[in-house]
C-alpha cells in the first residue's frame, strides 16, 4: 500500500504543491500534482514530478564523517558534534556561515540564531547573493521591501507581461505554463528581452535582443520613450513617488535613438516596448473599471553583472514611471531561483539585517535580545562572496556551510577552491559528499525535504508546509536539530542559555520566527494545516494574507526614483585572444550546479554533457558542427561540452548552462568580479574562445 503525503517541491522558487506517494519500503513511487495548491494549480514540471528520486540515491551520506589524516572516517553524532563545537569555540571572531535556500525556514531561522547568538557575528549569507541580491538591494532602496510585489495569478490577470533576462520555460516551468495560459486564452501581450532567443519567444509580440551588459541603456531608452510619448502615469508619480525630477534629467541625457545605438535594439522596438508596458491593450475579460496592468518579470540576466544593482534600478524606475504597481494584474517580480530563497532571506540568513529585514538599530534588535537573553552583534556581516575572498586575508578562518556547494556556484572555481582549502576548519552539512564537502574537516548528514517537517516560502511570498514523508536516510537529521545540538554544546562557553536551542518541533521553531518577524506574525502550523499556504504579509491571526503589495503605500512611504546611467558593459570584454562573450544560465533538465539532478537517472538521460550554444557563423569559423565535442576557454580556466549550433544566440556569443557534467562546468571560466553594491559576481559576461576538441586516438582512448 502506498500512502500520500502533501508537501512542497524542493526544486525551484515557484513552490508547486506535490503529493508524495510513498510505498511500504519508504520509496517515493510517484509524485502527484496538487490541484488545490494555489501556486501550482495542478501543474508540475519534470523536476518536481520525476526528479525526487535523489532522496534515496545510494550516494546519500549515511553517517557523520570526521577527516583524520586526510581521509574521512565514519563517526557517531556525539563524536562529530563534539569536534564541531570545540573547534568552533576557538574560532569565534573569524567565522562565517552559508545557509541553504534549499532548507526550510525553520532550518534557516535556527542557523542565523546560532551564528548571531552563539558565534557572535553577522557573517551569514546564502545563495541570494549569487542570484537576486541586486534586485533586493534596489527594491529595498526604492520601495522599502525586497520581495516580489505580486502573485502568479497577476500574470494571468495582466494585459502585458515583460520578461527580462529570464527563461521561465526552463527555470520556472509552471510559471511559464501560467503565462502561456494567459497569452493563449486571454490575448495577453508578451514582450521578451533577452540576448538569447528563449522558448517563450514563440509567443512573444515583441522580442528585444540587446547586447550583453547594455540593460541600463535599453531601459533608460524605454523610459525616455514613455516620457516622450506622454505615457507616464502622472498621478501615480505625483502621489506615490519622489525623486522624479532627478530621474527625468538623467533619462533625458540620451535620446531613444542614442540608447538604441548603445544596446543594439531598434529605436522603433524600444518605442513599441514602451507602449506595451505603459499602456497595454486590455486583455480579454479585463474588468473595465481597472486599468490594464503590466507585469515586469526578471531573472539573472539583469542581476549577474557588475552593474546588476543599476540594472534593477532601471527596471523599477520604469515600473514607477508607468504606475504599474499596486493593482491586480501588474507588479514587479524577480523570479526567485531556489525553492526557499525567499524564506531563507526572510528568516535572516543575510549579513545586513535580522529576520524580517529588520536593520541592526536598537529598536529592532531589542525584542531579539530580550527573547534570546543575550546581546547580539550590531555591525553588518560579510556577504557570501566577500566571505570567500576574505579567507585570503585571514578574516575568515572557519566556516559552517549548510546545503550549499560553493565550489560549483562561485565564479572562477580554481581560485575559490584554493581559498576554501586555506580554511582552518570547515563543517559541511548536506545530503551528498560534493566538491565542497570533500574539503571539509567534518561532514554532517542532513535530511532531505522528504524526511522532515517545515515550511518553504515561494516566489509569491506563500509560506507552505513541507511534511515528513519517509524516515531519515541512514543517520541523517534535520538541519535545525543538528544546529541546535551544536549550539547547546557551545552555549555555556559562549555565555548563552542552552535552553535557547531546545525546540520540541519544527512548529515551535516557526512560532518563534513568527513572533520576531512582524510580516508573518499571523501564521502558524495550525492555520497552514487548515488553509493551505498563506502569503505574507499576514500580520494577525485573522488576516487572510496578501496577494499583492503596495496597494496604498510603500513600506518606505513614497517610492523613490533612482537615476542610473549606462556604464562600461562589463569588466571583461572580448579581445583578439578571447573574441567571444560567454553567457551562462540553466537548462530545464538540471538544477543549478547539478549536485542533485546528476543523481536522477532520467534527467541525466535527457542531458548528460554540458551543451555549448554557439552561433552558426562562429561555429563555421572554428570548424564546429552540431554535436561536436568542444572546449571553451577563458583567462581563468577551460571546460568541455557538446556544441549546439543555433541562431538562438547572437553572433559573437556563447551560452553555457552552469550545471557541472562530466567534470566540466562554466564556473571554471566565469569572472570573479562583483557589483559594488550587492557583491554579486558577473556570471553573465566574460571573454572566451571556443575550439573543436581534437580526437585523441591511442591506447587509452575510450
Amino acid at each position: 500500500m502506498t500512502r500520500a503525503v502533501s508537501s512542497t517541491c524542493p526544486y525551484c522558487g515557484v513552490g508547486c504543491g506535490i503529493v508524495l506517494n510513498v510505498d511500504e519500503n519508504d520509496r517515493i513511487r510517484w509524485v502527484d500534482d496538487d490541484p488545490v495548491n494555489l501556486s501550482s494549480t495542478g501543474m508540475l514540471c519534470v523536476k518536481g514530478r520525476f526528479g525526487t528520486t535523489f532522496v534515496n540515491h545510494p550516494d546519500r551520506i549515511q553517517t557523520p564523517l570526521i577527516k583524520r589524516n586526510g581521509r574521512f572516517e565514519e563517526a557517531t553524532w556525539d563524536e562529530a558534534l563534539d569536534v564541531v563545537a570545540n573547534r568552533l569555540l576557538e574560532h569565534r571572531g573569524h567565522f562565517g556561515s552559508f545557509a541553504s535556500a534549499k532548507a526550510t525556514n525553520e532550518d534557516a531561522f535556527v542557523q542565523q540564531k546560532f551564528v548571531r547568538l552563539v558565534m557572535g557575528t553577522n557573517n551569514i549569507d546564502h545563495c541570494t547573493r549569487l542570484c537576486h541580491s541586486p534586485s533586493v538591494e534596489a527594491m529595498l532602496q526604492q520601495l522599502g521591501s525586497g520581495a516580489t510585489s505580486n502573485s502568479y495569478i497577476d500574470y494571468e490577470e495582466a494585459s502585458c507581461i515583460v520578461l527580462v533576462g529570464c527563461d521561465p520555460g526552463s527555470n520556472h516551468p509552471v510559471i511559464a505554463s501560467r503565462m502561456r495560459r494567459a497569452i493563449d486564452t486571454l490575448g495577453t501581450k508578451l514582450v521578451v528581452v533577452n540576448p538569447r532567443r528563449i522558448e517563450m519567444c514563440d509567443r512573444a509580440d515583441l522580442f528585444l535582443q540587446p547586447k550583453a551588459g547594455t540593460d541600463v541603456a535599453l531601459f533608460n531608452g524605454i523610459a525616455r520613450a514613455v516620457l516622450d510619448d506622454g505615457l507616464a502615469d502622472v498621478s501615480f508619480i505625483e502621489g506615490r513617488t519622489e525623486g522624479f525630477d532627478a530621474f527625468v534629467s538623467a533619462v533625458r541625457e540620451a535620446t531613444v535613438e542614442e540608447c538604441a545605438d548603445l544596446c543594439g535594439v531598434a529605436a522603433e522596438e524600444i518605442r513599441a516596448a514602451a507602449r506595451f508596458f505603459a499602456r497595454p491593450p486590455a486583455r480579454r475579460g479585463q474588468p473595465p473599471e481597472l486599468r490594464p496592468g503590466s507585469c515586469l518579470v526578471w531573472g539573472m540576466g539583469i542581476t549577474q553583472h557588475t552593474q546588476g544593482t543599476d540594472n534593477a534600478h532601471s527596471l523599477l524606475n520604469l515600473a514607477l514611471l508607468a504606475g504599474q504597481l499596486g493593482r491586480p494584474g501588474c507588479g514587479v517580480s524577480p523570479l526567485r531561483g531556489q525553492n526557499n530563497v525567499q524564506g531563507c532571506g526572510d528568516a535572516g540568513c543575510i549579513p545586513d539585517s535580522l529576520p524580517g529585514y529588520q536593520p541592526y538599530g536598537d529598536a529592532a534588535i531589542a525584542p531579539f535580545e530580550q527573547l534570546w537573553g543575550a546581546g547580539l552583534p550590531r555591525s553588518p556581516g560579510l556577504k557570501a562572496t566577500d566571505m570567500v575572498e576574505q579567507i585570503a586575508s585571514g578574516t575568515i578562518r572557519a566556516m559552517y556551510i549548510v546545503g550549499e556547494n560553493p565550489l560549483l556556484s562561485e565564479p572562477n572555481l580554481h581560485h575559490a577552491t584554493d581559498l576554501i582549502r586555506a580554511l582552518d576548519f570547515l563543517v559541511v552539512q548536506d545530503l551528498f559528499l560534493h566538491e565542497t564537502a570533500e574539503l571539509a574537516d567534518v561532514v554532517l548528514p542532513a535530511c532531505s525535504f522528504a524526511e522532515k517537517d517545515g515550511t518553504f516560502t515561494n516566489s509569491e511570498r506563500r509560506i507552505q508546509r513541507v511534511r515528513r514523508a519517509i524516515a531519515p536516510v541512514g543517520l541523517a537529521r534535520p538541519d535545525w536539530e543538528i544546529l541546535c545540538d551544536v549550539a547547546r554544546r557551545m552555549a555555556p562557553g559562549a555565555g548563552v542559555d542552552p535552553a535557547q536551542f531546545a525546540y520540541g518541533s519544527a512548529s515551535e521553531v516557526f512560532d518563534e520566527f513568527a513572533r520576531l518577524m512582524p510580516q508573518i506574525r499571523g501564521i502558524n502550523y495550525e492555520r497552514l494545516e487548515g488553509e493551505g499556504g498563506i502569503q505574507w504579509p499576514c500580520p494577525s491571526p485573522d488576516h487572510p494574507g496578501t496577494r499583492y503589495l503596495y496597494a496604498d503605500s510603500f513600506p518606505r512611504g513614497l517610492a523613490r526614483f533612482v537615476p542610473v546611467r549606462q556604464r562600461a558593459v562589463a569588466e571583461e570584454t572580448p579581445d583578439d585572444e578571447y573574441p567571444l562573450v560567454l553567457n551562462t544560465g540553466r537548462v530545464l533538465y538540471h538544477w543549478h550546479g547539478g549536485t542533485i539532478t546528476r543523481r536522477v537517472a532520467g534527467l541525466m538521460e535527457q542531458v548528460d554533457t554540458v551543451p555549448v550554444a554557439v552561433h552558426p557563423a562562429d561555429a563555421a569559423v572554428a570548424g564546429i558542427q552540431e554535436g561536436d565535442p568542444v572546449l571553451v576557454f577563458s583567462r581563468r580556466g577551460r571546460m568541455g561540452g557538446k556544441a549546439v549550433v543555433t541562431d538562438a544566440v547572437q553572433p559573437g556569443n556563447l551560452f553555457v548552462p552552469f550545471v557541472k557534467l562530466q567534470d566540466s562546468a562554466a564556473n571554471f571560466l566565469t569572472n570573479n568580479v562583483y557589483d559594488e553594491v550587492s557583491r554579486i559576481p558577473e556570471y553573465k559576461v566574460c571573454a572566451a574562445k571556443i575550439e573543436k576538441k581534437r580526437e585523441r586516438k591511442g591506447a587509452f582512448a575510450r
Binding site: 495542478g42 501543474m43 514530478r49 520525476f50 516551468p173 530545464l588 537517472a601
Partner: protein, 200 residues
Amino acid sequence: MKLNGVSVEATGSLLDTVLAAGIALPHLCKDDNLPVIGACRTCLVEADGRIVAACSTPAAGVQECATDSERAVRIRRGVLELTAAMQSGPAGAAGGPRSAESLEAYASHAPRPGQYGLRSGTHADLSNPFFSFHEDACILCARCVTACQELQHIGAIGIAGRGHTARVTPGAGVSFRESICTSCGSCVAACPTSALRPKG
C-alpha cells in the same frame, strides 16, 4: 432536483451533483484537474427522459436524473464494453496514479467479454526517460491531450487519424523524446488506463 428519486441540491454539472450525492458513476474522461472533454460517454445518465453525458450537462434545469435506470445502465454497459475492448493489451500492467479508474469502471458494470473486436493498434513509444506510451491500453479519452494543451499549454501531443487508426501521438513520425514534450508528466497523471505509464 430529483436524483434516483431522491431530492438533492443541483451543483455544477450533473456529474458533480451525482458525485456530491455519493453515487458512483464512471467518468473516464473527466479529471478534477481538467476542463470537461466529453469524449468517453462512460458517464451517460437519463435526464428528464433523455440520455446525456453527465459531465457536460449543467445540473440546473434538470428536474429528474437517473443514474440507475435500466436504460442508462444498459447503454453505459455497452459503452464500457467497447471501451474495455480498446484496452487490448496485457491486463495488469502497472500504470500511473489514475490507471485504476478504468478497471473500476468496467468492474462496476459487469461487461460481457467478447462483445467487440479488440483494438488492433500496438504502437509503443519508450523514448521518454520517465514514462512510456502503449497504444494497446489507450481508450482515446483525450485526457492526456487536454492536460498537455489546456493545463500546461504545451500542446506536445494530439490525437491523429480517425476511427480505427486514431492514435495519441506527439506528431507523425516523431517520438516523445524528439518532440517539444517537456516531460512534465501531466499526461501520465491524467491517464485513466496504463497507456501512459511511469517508468521504473
